[in-house]
């Protein structure tokens, strides 16, 4: 893989939009990590307070996003929500990759009976609509952050397995894999050193895209009441909490909703840029003189 700095440079040069994506995602990650230390009203953020005289305050200098029905600062809760969304995004995608990559890699590279068996299992999961599967799992497992992550990643890994499988089956027949075999490299070494690194691009791009989708779906689960615990400042839950009073106190739902929108958009822009920067062929076409024939 090209060095990290050259990759970032390439990314930035490519377009302003990918830069925007990069900024949004960076902002999201930093907020997620620092949230407990930077929110103006930490108790509100954690949901420990009930200020009866501060209920339903519209946005002001004191409460930039207004307050909710318990008089809690929405801004603080949205910032803290970034932390939960970050945990969900990284947790869901990470766990799904942890299952999907080995399954796809082994199925694609080993092939034969083992490969078809692994792919049949994958296909069984793929037969369910992913959101329905996640809802069913979440309902069975019960509410909670950890259970939400499990439910989503179980409905998610087959997509990575499938994606990697397809890529590996084509990469393993590339001439450079033949070259590696000619060196007498073992199957494992070829799999990890040559096949895997050249097969990861589609999965990486999909994973970046899915970070956004994971946040969206976790919000969906919370909205349906099968997601994280009540009181947790998760964005989907925040939207739900404001739902009842949307006509009078629109700000309670609007700001967490906007946070979801912007973050998902950021991940999409970043995924687009990644697609181009990670694929050496596209890089080459853009850089090259081949165009001159």
């Amino acid at each position: 893989m090209a060095s990290a700095s050259s990759q970032v440079l390439w990314l930035i040069r490519r377009s302003k939009l990918s830069l925007v994506g990069l900024f949004i995602v960076a902002g999201f990650v930093v907020t997620g990590i620092l949230a407990p230390f930077i929110v103006p009203y930490p108790e509100d953020a954690r949901g420990e307070t009930y200020n009866i005289e501060e209920r339903f305050q519209p946005p002001s200098w004191e409460h930039p996003f207004g307050t909710d029905e318990y008089g809690r600062d929405v801004f603080s809760r949205v910032l803290m929500g970034a932390r939960y969304s970050l945990i969900i995004a990284v947790g869901v995608v990470g766990l799904a990759l942890l299952i999907g990559i080995p399954v796809g890699l082994v199925a694609g590279y080993v092939g034969g009976r083992v490969g078809s068996m692994l792919m049949r299992v994958t296909d069984m999961f793929l037969a369910f609509p992913p959101l329905l599967l996640a809802i069913a799992l979440a309902a069975t497992l019960g509410r909670g952050l950890f259970n939400t992550i499990i439910a989503l990643s179980i409905s998610w890994w087959p997509w990575y397995a499938r994606l990697l499988y397809v890529r590996v089956t084509s990469v393993k027949n590339m001439p450079f894999v033949d070259s590696a075999r000619l060196l007498g490299l073992g199957r494992l070494a070829i799999m990890f050193r040559h096949v895997l690194p050249n097969s990861l691009t589609p999965v990486t791009v999909q994973a970046a895209l899915d970070m956004g989708s994971a946040i969206l779906e976790a919000a969906g689960l919370s909205f349906l009441g099968v997601g994280v615990d009540p009181s947790t400042p998760e964005w989907g839950l925040l939207v739900t909490e404001g739902w009842a009073s949307i006509s009078s106190a629109w700000w309670i739902s609007l700001f967490p909703g906007l946070a979801i929108l912007v973050t998902v958009l950021g991940f999409n822009l970043l995924a687009d840029a990644l697609r181009e920067s990670l694929d050496p062929r596209i890089r080459r076409i853009a850089l090259t003189r081949r165009i001159l024939g």
């Binding site: 450079f176 033949d178 070259s179 007498g184 690194p197 080459r284």
Partner: protein, 316 residues
Amino acid sequence: MSLLDVRGLVKYFPVRKGVFGRVVGYVKAVDGVSFSIGENEVFALVGESGSGKTTTARCILRLIEPTRGEILFMGRDVTKLKGRELKWYRRNVQAVFQNPFLSLNPRMKVKDLVAEPLKVYRDQAQDVERAVEEHLEMVGLPREVGERYPLELSGGQAQRVAIAKAIILRPRLVVLDEPTSALDVSVQAQILNLFLDLKKELKLSYLLITHDLSVVKYVSDWVAVMYLGRIVELARTEELFENPLHPYTLALLSSIPGTKKAKWKRIELAGEPPSALNPPKGCRLRPRCPLAFEKCHEEPQLVEYSKEHWVSCWLY
């Protein structure tokens, strides 16, 4: 003693059909091929697509298993090698392929690509970094290229990297599979010269797979012309060009542009090569051959027509 002996090599690929993968026939890619390559010799296998030349090379490289036949390298049967012996073989037999952009891992730096063979066989306590620099120099690349990725190089430079990688273990035999067909002519000449220099310097033998007879003329000691899985003519290079016999060889020579005033008989083949799934009975060239006669319905054998010149055709 010869370095490599191929005896009666056969490779059939099953053709499957239907849900249960029933075998409905075989593509007879290589159908009884024998030849040998001596020490520090260049042997060329010439033919068009579907002739079986690449399949033969892949069998020799043990990338696929032959259906039948023997491949002896320094007297040992390659098809039966395992474990350490196979490693010994791999070390001694390397390859350079047609398209370096596909045969070099695009995610590795040039210096890591060239060093990889040494790392696999880390039995000598040698300075890897210096060895890489030496070999880059040997193939005519500046040392800075080591820091680059294959896709940042020109076709000729990338092919030089592939060559450096192939020779760094000091193999005895290098299989060259259409090594210059993807390159510009001016670069092709550079690379062919490099092959000649390395052969002399490192006492290499080459098995050259190509469709281009004019390249063969420059680098090869022996030529075998293949058609539909069989060798139809085999001779010393000068002898073959001096005295080409088989109609297919003549057709190949005639199709080289700019040879209108050639001394041999010009032959044009009719139609297109038939599929190797269902090769013609008797002589396989018969349906396309303008010189075919009654006898050609029987299968000709490869016979020694003159000293060091074999041909498989009823005309001789």
